[in-house]
């Protein structure tokens, strides 16, 4: 921090600057304390957690909660299920969304404007509105209690979102190169995967990251469609500790930390891209 207590800095400036940093510190405390507490709880022995006088700083460290979560609560199985669901959702989403966004932004045919609008509408429909009829469908076609049911239903929000986002990216890329490619003898599909996709790679990466996190974080469908504990995903598996154990906070916070870290890393990598994609150019000062 610069030493601003000099003749160049009048008193009023110093007061304002100090107030600013106090406000920022208080705000930051509220934002970051829960994270600190989550990680700290996961690393402290039970004796330090279940006492009337919890100290703000840990007195001793232990990895015992991580061991409990991984061994007794079988975090690994949930992790495997979540990884399978999230990566399958991402792969399918990227294929379907990029082809769809290419079609809507690059090819001319009647009804494509209506299609673009319906993609936005469907993206805006909250998942909690349709889970009962989806449950009936999943049950009727015999997919109840399978991970496939999650992948298929997660597509209903990841595909509209990613298609909408990729349409924004594709629109920002001038079609000149693809037109030149077609004159040189490329087919339309070749212009898509040889010219457009490499140019839109950052958008594709962002779309992939967001569909992965959407699937990784999803709770309601995973709670409703999956009944066997061997097929639970990470969110539902962790939530089930609440009824299973009274002294669950250590393992629960250990599991929460392990579930949050991959997503946080992905978000840091793709920072800002979501806001960009969401507004797709509509943010103008």
């Amino acid at each position: 921090m610069p030493a601003f207590w000099t003749d160049n800095y009048p008193l009023q400036y110093v007061v304002r600057r100090t107030l600013f940093f106090v406000a920022l510190a208080l705000f930051a405390f509220w934002v970051f304390f829960p994270f600190y507490w989550m990680v700290a709880t996961s690393l402290r022995p039970d004796a330090e957690l279940y006492t009337r006088n919890v100290t703000l700083l840990p007195q001793s460290f232990t990895l015992q909660h991580y061991e409990t979560e991984l061994v007794r609560y079988q975090f690994g199985i949930r992790l495997r299920n979540s990884l399978f669901v999230a990566s399958s959702t991402t792969l399918l989403t990227l294929i379907v969304s990029s082809l769809g966004a290419f079609s809507i932004t690059r090819l001319r045919y009647p009804g494509r404007a209506a299609l673009a609008r319906s993609i936005l509408f469907v993206y805006l429909i909250p998942g909690s509105l349709l889970f009962i009829p989806l449950y009936i469908i999943v049950y009727t076609v015999g997919l109840a209690n399978t991970l496939i049911s999650l992948i298929i239903t997660y597509l209903t929000f990841s595909i509209p979102f990613c298609t909408w986002m990729l349409m924004g990216y594709f629109k920002a890329i001038p079609p000149d190169m693809e037109e030149a490619g077609m004159i040189d003898g490329c087919t339309r599909l070749q212009t898509f995967y040889k010219i457009l996709l490499p140019l839109a790679l950052p958008g594709l990466v962002a779309a992939g990251i967001f569909s992965f996190t959407l699937a990784w974080n999803e709770f309601l469908y995973a709670l409703v469609f999956i009944t066997s504990s061997q097929l639970q995903t990470v969110p539902v598996g962790l939530a089930s500790h609440i009824v299973a154990d009274i002294y669950m906070w250590g393992p629960l916070m250990a599991g929460s930390t392990m579930a949050a870290v991959p997503v946080i890393i992905l978000y840091i990598l793709a920072q800002g891209a979501l806001v960009q994609g969401l507004f797709a150019g509509s943010v103008r000062g």
Binding site: F27, T41, Y50, R52, V96, L115, W216, G285
Partner: protein
């Protein structure tokens, strides 16, 4: 809802083979999206309308009962409370998220060392999965060993420990605090992005004219962000009124339905009690309003075309 995608071919005589081939390719490439929407959005939506007028349970097919489920819901003693809770969480939550998000944007728009790192870090509550945020806050609120209680009693702020989540007066506030903590960064980062686009000269000119900081905020910043503010608030209103896991994992709708919301009620009726008919009717009662919000916000989001 009914979005028609015309699959009819244009009259052959007026369309060149190349154009027709382009159209066929176009439809083929969006076909997976259309199939997905028809099977997993439109069909479930219309089947939900039908289900809401039957007495279907899990295991039975159900008979048509007209509007009996709707009448039953309206007569449910805590129905009004559930409505009130849902919209209180949504409107109060969004209003506070707007204020806190704007505060974040204003603070992080000031020049200081480490500003870019702070911007990234302030996104954390939004980046973290909702279930992680909710479980962590449940532990913070805990009656016996929760750190909020420990700090409050330790500093003399409160004489006794408070059961935040079991207290009928505080449970809804506890939910709203979590909703705000989780959601404000989306507002903040959107406003920051918007502020970047406001030309500096506008502020300099205003300063020359003697406008103080408040005036500059109200006459330059706010009007310039009008469009972003509308989108963030409307989007968040749709999402927040459909909050499920925060309530389910924090309070379970209790104490005595004081935090009951419509998504949770749908879950309890449909999944826990297997009463599909009644459960399907609950979201239907919210749909007209949500559909209105979706139409309005989609207009704003398509405006750039």
């Amino acid at each position: 809802m009914a979005v028609e995608v015309s699959l009819k071919r244009p009259p052959v005589s007026t369309v060149s083979p190349a154009r027709r081939q382009e159209a066929v390719q176009g439809y083929l490439l969006v076909l997976p999206i259309i199939v997905l929407f028809v099977c997993l959005i439109f069909y479930p939506f219309f089947s939900a309308i039908w289900l809401s007028m039957t007495d279907k349970t899990i295991g039975t097919t159900g008979d048509f009962v007209g509007f009996a489920n709707y009448r039953w819901l309206l007569r449910w003693p805590d129905f009004e409370l559930m409505l009130l809770n849902t919209w209180t969480i949504a409107f109060v939550g969004v209003a506070i998220k707007f204020v806190v998000g704007m505060a974040m944007a204003l603070l992080l728009n000031v020049e200081f060392r480490g500003r870019m790192i702070m911007r990234g870090l302030f996104m954390l509550p939004w980046a973290v999965p909702t279930f992680v945020a909710t479980l962590t806050w449940r532990w913070l609120y805990d009656y016996q060993n929760g750190v909020i209680n420990t700090i409050a009693t330790g500093t003399g702020l409160s004489d006794t420990r408070v059961s935040f989540l079991g207290n009928p007066d505080f449970a809804l506030i506890a939910v709203i605090i979590l909703v705000v903590w989780k959601g404000f960064p989306f507002f903040g980062i959107s406003y920051l992005a918007g502020m970047q686009g406001i030309p500096r000269e506008m502020y300099e000119a205003a300063e020359v004219d003697g406008a103080n900081a408040w005036a500059r905020f109200f006459y330059i910043t706010l009007p310039s962000l009008r469009h972003v503010i509308m989108i963030t608030c409307l989007l968040s209103l749709i999402w927040t009124s459909n909050t499920f896991e925060m309530v389910y994992l924090l309070t379970g709708g209790g104490p005595s339905n004081r935090t009951q919301v419509f998504t949770l009620m749908t879950y309890k009726l449909g999944i826990e009690n297997m009463r599909i008919g009644e459960a399907s009717a609950v979201p239907m009662m919210f749909f007209p309003l949500l559909a209105g919000l979706i139409v309005i916000v989609s207009r704003y989001m398509m405006k750039e075309d």
